[in-house]
Amino acid sequence: MSGTTLFGLGAAALVGLGLYGLICQPGALRKILAFNLMGSGIFLLFGVIAKRGGGALFAAGTGSDGDPVPQALVITGLVVAFAATAIAVALLVRLAETGGGTTLETDAQDAPAVPTDANLRGEREP
Amino acid sequence: MRLALDIFTIVMVSLGGLFFLAGTVGLLRFPDTLTRLHALTEADNLGLGLVVLGLLAQTSWPLGALKLIALWLLALLSGAVVAQFLGAAVRPADWRTDDVSGPREDGR
């Protein structure tokens, strides 16, 4: 078994772990962490596939020998994952500040209040 | 000459390794966080310095050597800062004093 295949198996395990955390962790921050874990497993799989498709094609002169397409996709994906984490953290911190707690296990019946045009405009003004 | 340089490298790198080992042993044996911090950061600083010194004999002059030295200085700086940080964070409460350095400078 090659190291690349090994990393592929590791990626599968990371996805499983992340999936478990995302579903079972009660706290939203832990869910966000689990999402990042799962994401890095997926990116790692991209890396494995890039390495498999590489060979020595680019060995000369460029210092990289993978399939560059998945590598480029991972870079894009990393930036997207960071943006996702940032929004999630901002929402979560604000939710905690406004007294909404940090779990998402809210009961089915607590319906949100109606945001109307009127209270949208001025509701947070003192 | 080549041989002398190689021997120098080997000695220095081994000595550096010894300090890394000392840092790790200290990390395990020392009683509290602060003393462990001493062992880890400072022994490793010296260890890294010795390793860099050993490698200087192997790299190209002057670019490679300067690069190594720059690397070492950066590691020293960040090591010292991080250690001070951690130290300030774990300092016992009776030594914790509230913000005596006055209002921080703002703007620029």
Partner: protein
Amino acid sequence: MTQAQALVAAGIRDLTDLGGVVLVFPLMLPITGLLLGLVLGGRYLGRFVLLLTLLGLGAALAIAAVVLVGGDALQYLLGGWSPPLGVGLRADGLSAVMLVTSALVMLAVALYAQRAFPITGDGSETRSSLVFWLLLLGVWGGLNTVFLGQDLFTLFVALELLTFSAVPLVALGGKPETLAAALRYLLFALLGSALYLLGAVLIYGTYGTLDIALLAERIAGADRWPPSLVAAIALMTVGLLAKTALFPLHLWLPPAHAGAPPAASAVLSALVVKASFFLVLRIWLDMMPGLLATAGVQILGAMGAGAILVGNLVALRQVRLKLLIAYSTLAQIGYLFLLFPLAAGAEALALTGGTLQVVSHACAKAAMFMAAGLIAAALGHDRIGELGGIARALPITVLAFGLAGLALLGLQPSGGYLVKTLLTSAADASGQWWWGLVMQAGGLLTAAYLFRVLGYALFGPRADEGRPPNLAIKRPGRVQELVALLLALCALLLGLLPPVAFDLTGVGRAGVDAGAAVSVAMAGAFDWGKLWGDLWPVLIVGLLVLCAVPWPGGRPAADADSVRVSSSVTGRAAAVVGLVFERVDAALRQWPVAGLSLLLLGLGLAGSLVGGA
């Protein structure tokens, strides 16, 4: 040919000469608008976006015209690089329909929201106006990219653009409940996109390309499906279902769509959930038509049926109008997924019906949310039991709501009627009568909650009597009312379009003659016998529901949920059934349970595809 027609034809020919580069326009218009809007800031943002949506509608109509007249899909290679290395754009009939629909709804929302997200007196921007207008553009850009993209990874980025723009719209109100709804939406959507991306990796690892057309060729050429392909399809499908909120993965939808400001709810319900559905369609119909022959379509159909039944029944029990509409969206998403089992037997009928459902629901649901927003703004609340007399104060708004409801319900000549007829005949043609039964039941339940709302609005005890003046009903803007009404009329009169207009659906797709299917469906639609046959069950349901509504001077509406306290026989029966479904729904909407459903659904889909080819 008249002179005007000749002029139009000439214009379209010019556009055809321009070729696929016109596809860049719907892609870049919202994105450039977002960049400009961010720098320009608040002052003229609303007007600016309105202008953009007008331009966008023009572009979408032009593309639709070119596609329809040309009779073939438009293609464009970005940067001149051809797949698999480069990324292509492609507009077939389906894309064109989606482009036009989204541009239309965007224009309506931009008109509607002028008053809700206005310019302040001193010209400085406010939080909600900047966020709303810019993210509206973000949503639009994401949608258009989804409709035109041909590369699975580009589509991933587009979906994320869409999600990141849609989620903050939900939280615009800033209350803890809406923040929680937004966070739940975001995290579940992220789970969905992670699964989708995982599928895309496996596809790349198997075929070395992410281009849908190339993949279709390579997959069709294979003797049997490799395991990685089966896993990829299951992962991508289930990820997209999570983002569409197909039952039972709908935990995020009701609070998110009900908690957003009305203008945003309209976009979210009408368009955003359709984007991920559209991708499921692309994958199952275009990338891998062989999937239609597997048991997977029955799973998707069953989920759709579950959505119709549970969504409608739970909608019936809602206390708040916006939540009722949100649950109605859940049910209407279900109709979309009936398309898959039906397409296996009768593709032309099912696809035409499904596409029409997207359009009709988009218009009707946007109109409903807009009307509900106006009602909530006027009353200061949206509790259904206290809507009494609102019809007298806001006749146009209630009319818009009612017409939109009729369109969903499926009475002639509405879009809903066409959808129902097409899908039912597809069910007959493919010998799957049970889906037809589900649709009939769904229609009656829709009638029930529609009449419940209208009953309160028309005949309920006057809620505004004896109110202090500061709580008196506030008049909405005339433009807002008219926009809602026009959208409702669009949905209602969809069936009166000439059948040739529906040919668009089939462009770029062999064997789909949508125009013919529609003409057959509309034939005899206005026959009195047929009309009566459709009408009497609805009327009976309406009467039954009206029995449960408190009349003026009757029972006090202290408990807003009249069905729960109803003493009539029908009320009791409905209450028991409703209660059971409500409990089921509440249990399914717990996060771990929804996660469990997701895993089971994914594994089930993978199992149903193993061994197929």
